[in-house]
Amino acid sequence: MSAFYFRKVLLPLVMLGGACVPQLLRAQDAFPLVPPAAEPRNVETSRDQVGRRFIPPSSFPKSPAGVEDLMKQETPQSLETDLTLDALLMMATENNPTLVQAQQQIQGTLGKALEAGLYPNPTFYYIAEQIFVDSETDTDTPGEFQGGAVQQEIVTANKREISRRKYQQRAKTAEWMAVAQQWRVCNDVRIHFWKTLGHRQIVDIRRELLKAAEDSALTTREQVNLGQATQAELHLSNVSLQRTRLSLLNAENMYRSQFAMLSSLVGVELEPQPLKGKLVADMESMIDFNQAVENLYSDSPEVLAATAKWQADCITLERERVEPVPNIFVKAASGYNHESREPVASVQIFMEVPIFDRNQGTIHQAEADLARQNAEIKRTKLRLRQDLALHYQKYLTALQHVIEFQSVILPEAKAAYANQLDAYKGDRQNWGDVLKTQREYYQLREQYVHHLITWRTNETLINGFLLHGGLKAAESPTPPGHIDSVAQPR
């Protein structure tokens, strides 16, 4: 009879029965609290107090679904695939819808330019005046005058041409925006290409880490058998194993999500497959911060679009300034005068007299818009510089890490692992310590891949004018506001 039986059955009975101490003592005498060491193993063990007799190691936790498949995968040594970065960029150029949108923004604006430059149409009237007037010769004539008139607005001060120039200039803005959109798409394709490549590598490394965790769990079981590890350590090794399995699944999910993003950006729905490319690049020259600022200021499509827009705003002001110059309306009519019984003609010339509304409000608005746009150029530059500071810091830090990981950290960690293996082979190291070093080396490799991703991502952004967001709808070059909301663009 075991101590378990004593505690769980006899003791409560004795207590419940209000039994006295002597009985308890007798019970204790009869059933020793510590069971003999070599007790049959089929007795239920889970509730036994730990450390009183040998409890065989519990089984490994069940693998979450998908882990075993991932463990069976092999990293392809040579990548039989055409999915290079260039191919993906080509696909994106053809299929990314925002590039079409950007093109249509240009077309739309050019349409406005066409419209704004068109001459106003003439107006045709039929005129019947003074019907039933009594004439001296007759009475109740069909009227004094019956005839047709044509009215034409004569546009003054080159208003149409200025308007056309204004929208043509705005189309240039749209063109720069389209260039920016191309950068957005290409940069994003590149970034997700690096990320997909990197996360693919991380899946491989996590797979190795899982092997190490399995080894660790097995080693703990071996140690339990040798009295060198406890049940608690066994449970913790199960925890560690399961967490490592989850982290492999996590890496795989991450990889799939990166691939899906990449696939979305190129505008083609691709199944996850190996990519052909290298995450590591030559590091012949490091990007210089000041040089990068200069490049942004001079060549950033956003700066160029803002400048183009500023030029359009200048023309807008010019256009609004000539707006008060009155257009001349000429109206000519020809008909039959029933009173005088002869054909007659009539001419009217009129114009609006700019006394009260000299378009001064809109001019004021255009001036303000121009000044605002001037500030916008400066704001764009500063915003880019600010973004650059952030990305440059990430780029620089990652690059410094990549260099040091390549030259020192990884070789040293690898050497430590090799040392430990050699020593273990020669009976000069504990396996647990070897596993620790192995884990450290593999974790450092994973960190290295993260640094590579950060490096290439930020390098891409800096070289690509910090533009990203390849599925953001292409922006319109049309600013909001009164001037553009009139029926006929001007």
Partner: protein
């Protein structure tokens, strides 16, 4: 002067001869005397003028077969006063500390002058395992100082260590200024400096010298200091062995002693670990003394000898009067203690001689878990590619259901060069092929060999196949029908390693 063919015939035939021998102190003479014994009539005529008479049997105790004698109170009980073959007139038997040199001296100004250099030393604990310790004159332990009672000695100590030191002459009743107690009796010897110790030796017995800086002691700075008595101890011994047992803490993957540790994992006998510690080889019937010093930092050693019962005849303090000698199979020797074991080598064979502490019978202990004990797993598979690793089989050997499995020391792999070096020593010739796998840490062996076998092992260069001497002993003194040689695979491996 001997008919070697008839002698050989006698020895090969393996009879346990009960004969008395006359010794003149050399192996050849001893062999001769035994041979002469074949014809009892020769015995009387060969008696030497010094009257040193040696018998085969004393009061029921035989020097040639395991025996006790008739009476515990007898002077010859368990060979207590049974003399060796050596003639006392020839002085004490030479002192042998295997794997250690003797410190030479020159007579100068009426004193034996010795030079000791304290310095960092690399010592090969096992073949290919070079450990960084401190020692003297390039050796750890230091070379043996051997003098005779009554000598005046001068020891000039040069400190080539990077730090201060001072040397203590352990057990000597000397003028206090030469005692070597750091700062208490002398200024420390600075690096690069020299100090002269000079005193008369009125003692006799087993002594030693060592640095009196604790951490330097943990680094192994010790050496024998043997003082032979002017009046040779009775009964005379044929062999006088010295073994210094030490412990070191040297962490896994390290070669430098961690003197700060409280845990000890490397063990040496005269600066070498089993099986590299050289066996003590003697002849059948000899009286043997083993002086054993425990110079471990914190561990005492219960020293056990197989196949014989020995008398404790001295400690480091003094020779023990015979009335106080005690017979033992295991003697506990404490830190900084020495013990003299004396016995008649009456049981031929290769006998374990070792510390009985379990962890002292191993070296550089590491947990024996991992690929080395797994089926189909090899460390080499891990070494071939460091960036990927083999996957473990998540099921275990059913034997893992047994608590405690596995206890076998796994994979104490010995490389070919290692095996070659181990077997290249004369003292191990003819031992069983797997003998080297059985000794580790504070383990060595006492080899008791019949005359002819002793000669083959120690005095000829003839090739002696592994296991042949052992087998021959079994044939002569045991039951050869029951004998199983080392497994052929092991044998083959060892032979290939030759």
């Amino acid at each position: 002067m001997s008919d070697s063919s008839s002698r050989r015939a006698f020895l090969k035939n393996g009879t346990m001869g009960t004969f008395a021998a006359l010794s003149v102190g050399t192996p050849a003479a001893a062999a001769l005397s035994k041979e002469q014994h074949d014809s009892p009539s020769a015995q009387a005529s060969k008696k030497q003028a010094d009257q040193h008479e040696v018998q085969d049997e004393y009061d029921g105790f035989s020097r040639y077969r395991p025996s006790r004698g008739h009476d515990p109170d007898s002077d010859y009980y368990i060979g207590k006063r049974v003399p060796g073959f050596r003639n006392p007139a020839d002085g004490p038997a030479p002192f042998i500390a295997n794997d250690l040199d003797k410190l030479p001296w020159k007579m100068k100004n009426g004193a034996k002058e010795f030079h000791l250099v304290c310095e960092p030393v690399a010592r090969e604990f096992l073949p290919g395992h070079w450990m960084n310790v401190y020692g003297f004159n390039g050796s750890m332990p230091g070379p043996t100082i051997e003098v005779t009672q009554g000598d005046r000695i001068r020891i000039i100590v040069h400190n080539e260590l990077p730090e201060e030191t001072s040397i203590h002459w352990h057990g000597f009743e000397l003028p206090v200024q030469y005692d070597g107690a750091h700062t208490m009796t002398q200024n420390p010897i600075k690096p690069g400096k020299t100090f002269k110790y000079e005193f008369d030796v009125h003692e006799e017995g087993t002594f030693f010298y060592h640095s009196h800086i604790a951490m330097q002691e943990a680094f192994g700075m010790v050496g024998w200091f043997i003082v032979h008595p002017q009046k040779v101890w009775d009964p005379p011994v044929d062999r006088d062995f010295g073994v210094i047992f030490q412990n070191f803490r040297i962490d896994p993957m390290q070669t430098v002693v961690n003197s700060w540790s409280m845990d000890w994992n490397w063990h040496t006998i005269n600066g070498r670990s089993g099986p590299y510690a050289t066996p003590l080889v003697c002849k059948h019937g000899e009286r043997v003394r083993v002086r054993l010093l425990d110079f471990s930092p914190v561990q005492h050693h219960p020293i056990h000898m197989h196949g014989h019962t020995f008398w404790i005849t001295g400690h480091e303090g003094a020779r023990i009067p015979k009335s106080a000698w005690i017979p033992r199979n295991t003697e506990l020797v404490g830190v900084a203690q020495a013990a003299d074991f004396e016995f008649i080598a009456n049981n031929p064979g290769d006998w374990m001689f070792h510390c009985h502490m379990v962890h002292h019978m191993m070296n550089h202990m590491v947990q024996h878990v991992g690929p080395r004990l797994r089926e189909d797993a090899k460390v080499d598979h891990y070494l071939t590619s460091l960036d990927t690793r083999p996957r473990v089989k998540m099921h275990q050997d059913p034997q893992f259901g047994i608590p405690g499995y596995p206890q076998k020391m796994q994979g104490m792999t010995m490389t070919k060069p290692m095996m070659k070096k181990l077997w290249s020593r004369r003292e191990v010739k003819g031992m069983r092929a797997n003998a080297m796998m059985s000794m580790a840490g504070l383990m060595t062996s006492v080899r008791v060999l019949p005359d002819d076998l002793y000669q083959r092992v120690m005095e000829t260069d003839e090739k002696v196949p592994k296991g042949s001497i052992f087998k021959e002993i079994v044939k002569r003194f045991g039951t050869i029908e029951d004998y199983e040689p080392a497994p052929p695979d092991v044998m083959q491996k060892m032979l290939n390693d030759d």
